[in-house]
């Protein structure tokens, strides 16, 4: 295989008229900035959670459920909004999403009725649905601005925009929660409602900028015919809903990528969301109060290497594979499977744990998983839909593929949670499950590779192997899971019984000790007091006269402890302070 045609194609794709690259950079910056600010109106919920719990008494599980409902609405929104996006255009789609998320966040921030959990859940799901207009819109706009052999690097930068959006709200939220003053505007500390009122201001400002600067395609910016679309090179960027639906749904490539992207979602979300628990349970860190330096370093390193991996994999697919994503994605999935399987083996050998070497290994594996998972995330989630749908149908292609990420994440988290529960927090299962997902994604890409090379039979046999893999997992895994669940249940019941017995024993021992103390008390008094003087107080001070004795013998009212008195009592007036008697 020679790389000469790929080189020539790559060179042609990067030759543009004067000013085009600057204009495209401006367009991409504007679109990416709006997309990043979308994250500010989504991840604000993470920071508002504790305040909401305190004010409304929402339970932790309710907060977690809300995040789940949001994901469900977001995934479904990708499907529906992707289709609408192809009809109305990426620019209109992003603007509608921005306006919707602004209104909903402000409604949540200012309305008194959100103290009702159901009302809040409905509003937050609506927000999830409207936020889902962002990705298809952004992918569609950029599909029109980039040649096929340029989209990989763009997809890497897409990963950077996601990270920057999260960083923006992570920096802004503590400022809002600590309270601040800006000109005549003052926000008190702990005002979580402002987390829903201030980020929309940023989205609004960027949306205005976006409205004026962005163009849906180079044609509308004065660069007609600069970009060649492999799918449909005719003018315009919109198509009828039915056309888009028919084209994308009947395109097998979409489903290969969607299945693979579901696996990416399962690994990426599992590693992202369970990392803090892994740090605590396996590496023995205290994540609430005393975050160790290596945990901070790992958490800071993950986004950096993730962006680097995304850009590099995108560039490799552009430069050496003529804009084909599946070969690079396949290599990445299988590498990911090998990395996670190694982690599982190392974990099984108990080499990962709260020792210096164990901590280093544990953190290293997390970083490696982040690199591989985020690299596939960019090229499969952003570059592939553009290649499949082109400038006219990239919205729906992106919607279908991206929605699978959330469904995959839901399945992955659901299974991981249950496995961790029945195995009493054995994280080897976590790694094992992620290995399966990564391997499955690699198989999907292998099947696509064979299909594209014209080896249909081999491609189908890989698909059959994948189906057998799932069935085998269900047939052999379910009984084992059930058996383990019974063992876990029995163990929990046994522990509960042991705990109850211990508590009963402790209570009995305490009761016995009380009874003994009660019996022992009078004896002690008898020992202290001589029987002949027990009822005669005069022995204490025989030299006292009667008046003095009476004063001493009269029981005094009990005084409170000085510390508590000082805290509870109102502050004593100063000696020179005015009193009612002495104004």
């Amino acid at each position: 295989m020679t790389t000469a045609p790929a080189k020539a194609q790559w060179k042609d794709a990067h030759m543009h008229p004067p000013g085009f690259r600057a204009r495209r950079g401006l367009n991409w910056f504007t679109v990416g900035l709006l997309y990043a600010t979308f994250y500010m109106c989504r991840y604000n919920f993470r920071f508002a959670g504790p305040g909401m719990r305190e004010e409304f008494g929402f339970e932790a599980q309710q907060i977690a459920d809300l995040a789940g409902w949001f994901s469900l609405a977001y995934g479904t929104g990708q499907l529906v909004n992707g289709l609408i996006c192809d009809r109305i255009g990426g620019r209109a789609s992003m603007l509608l999403g921005a306006i919707g998320t602004i209104l909903l966040n402000i409604a949540i921030g200012f309305s008194p009725f959100i103290s009702n959990f159901s009302a809040f859940a409905v509003l937050w799901m609506l927000n999830g649905y409207l936020q889902a207009a962002g990705t298809p819109g952004m992918v569609k706009i950029n599909a029109a601005w980039f040649n096929r052999a340029e989209r990989g690097v763009f997809a890497g930068i897409f990963g950077f925009m996601i990270q920057s959006g999260q960083t923006m709200i992570s920096l802004l939220a503590p400022v809002i929660l600590n309270g601040f003053t800006f000109l005549a505007f003052a926000v008190g500390p702990g005002n979580w409602r402002m987390l829903f009122c201030i980020p929309p201001i940023f989205v609004g400002l960027v949306a205005i900028w976006f409205y004026f600067i962005s163009a849906p395609s180079p044609d509308e910016a004065g660069y007609a015919g600069t970009i060649h679309d492999d799918v449909d090179n005719s003018a315009g960027t919109t198509v009828r809903v039915w056309e888009s639906f028919k084209f994308v749904f009947s395109n097998p490539l979409v489903w290969f990528y969607a299945v693979a992207y579901g696996c990416t979602g399962a690994v990426r979300h599992a590693s992202d969301q369970l990392a803090p628990l892994y740090f605590e349970d396996v590496l023995g860190f205290n994540m609430k109060t005393n975050l160790p330096e290596i945990a901070v370093a790992t958490l800071a390193l993950i986004p950096m290497v993730a962006v680097a991996g995304s850009v590099l994999s995108g560039w490799v697919s552009d430069r050496f594979f003529r804009g084909h994503r599946y070969p690079v994605a396949m290599v990445l999935y299988f590498t990911e499977a090998v990395v996670i399987a190694t982690a599982a083996i190392v974990m099984g050998l108990k080499l990962i744990g709260p020792t210096p070497a164990g901590i280093l290994l544990g953190c290293l594996f997390l970083v490696l998983i982040a690199v591989t998972a985020n690299s596939t995330h960019s090229i499969v989630g952003a570059a592939a839909p553009m290649d499949i749908g082109g400038k006219k149908m990239a919205g729906f292609a992106s919607g279908v593929i991206d929605s699978f990420q959330y469904y995959g994440a839901a399945i992955g988290l659901f299974l991981t949670g249950r496995l961790l529960k029945v195995s009493d927090g054995n994280y080897t299962f976590w790694f094992g499950l992620m290995t399966c997902f990564a391997f499955f994604g690699g198989c999907a890409m292998l099947s696509l590779l064979l299909r594209q090379k014209g080896r249909q039979a081999a491609s189908r046999s890989v698909i059959v192997f994948m189906i057998l893999l799932v069935l085998g997992g269900l047939v052999f895994g379910m009984p084992k899971y059930r058996a383990q669940k019974e063992v876990h249940r029995a163990r929990v019941a046994e522990e509960a019984a042991a705990l109850a017995a211990a508590q009963a024993q402790a209570a009995e021992a305490m009761a016995l000790a009380d009874a003994q103390a009660a019996e022992a008390k009078p004896k002690v008094r008898k020992v202290k007091r001589a029987p002949e003087v027990a009822d005669d107080h005069r022995w204490i001070a025989p030299a006292m006269d009667d008046d003095t004795f009476q004063k001493k013998a009269t029981p005094k009212p009990k005084k409170k402890k000085p510390k508590k008195a000082a805290i509870n009592a109102p502050a004593a007036p100063a000696a020179d302070a005015p009193t009612p008697a002495n104004p």
Binding site: F20, A22, R23, D232, A235, G236, L301
Partner: protein, 168 residues
Amino acid sequence: MSAQHPVTVTPFQLKLKQLCIAVETLFECRRGRVAFLLNMIGTAALYWAIMVVQARWLAARPWPLLAISHLGQGLLIFWAIIQVVRRLHDLGRTGKLFWAIVIPPWVAWRVADLFHLTERPSLWELWIVLGLMCLWTVWLILQLIFRPGSEGPNGYDGRDFYKKNQAE
């Protein structure tokens, strides 16, 4: 597949196009090593002066003045980037190499900051690794300062470059 849409370009978009061409043209020219060095020294001196003013005078002033000073710093950085790209063109090399000058030191700085390397002289191996990572950057910077520019047209001469490609 779908109906052809008439594509209209608004006057504002055309103005943006002109602006982008003007900005892109800024990077296209060539810059000799002496002019490059003088420009960089001048830019660095101005940047340092703004920093001094910020520290000594602007800290207690209203925030718009501070914002303007930051804007000035941003413009100086932009000017420095233009100088580097022009100098690379003078050497007959692509301006994209600017990223090779910026990214490795940035990564080294982030890693050093992340692991508090300045407070840990015992981790000298890591310093060597970071130094090796920046080796190409150092080599490029030395070339920018000392290597003479190429003679005659070299493919990075702005308008000529595009004209040639359009003619082809």
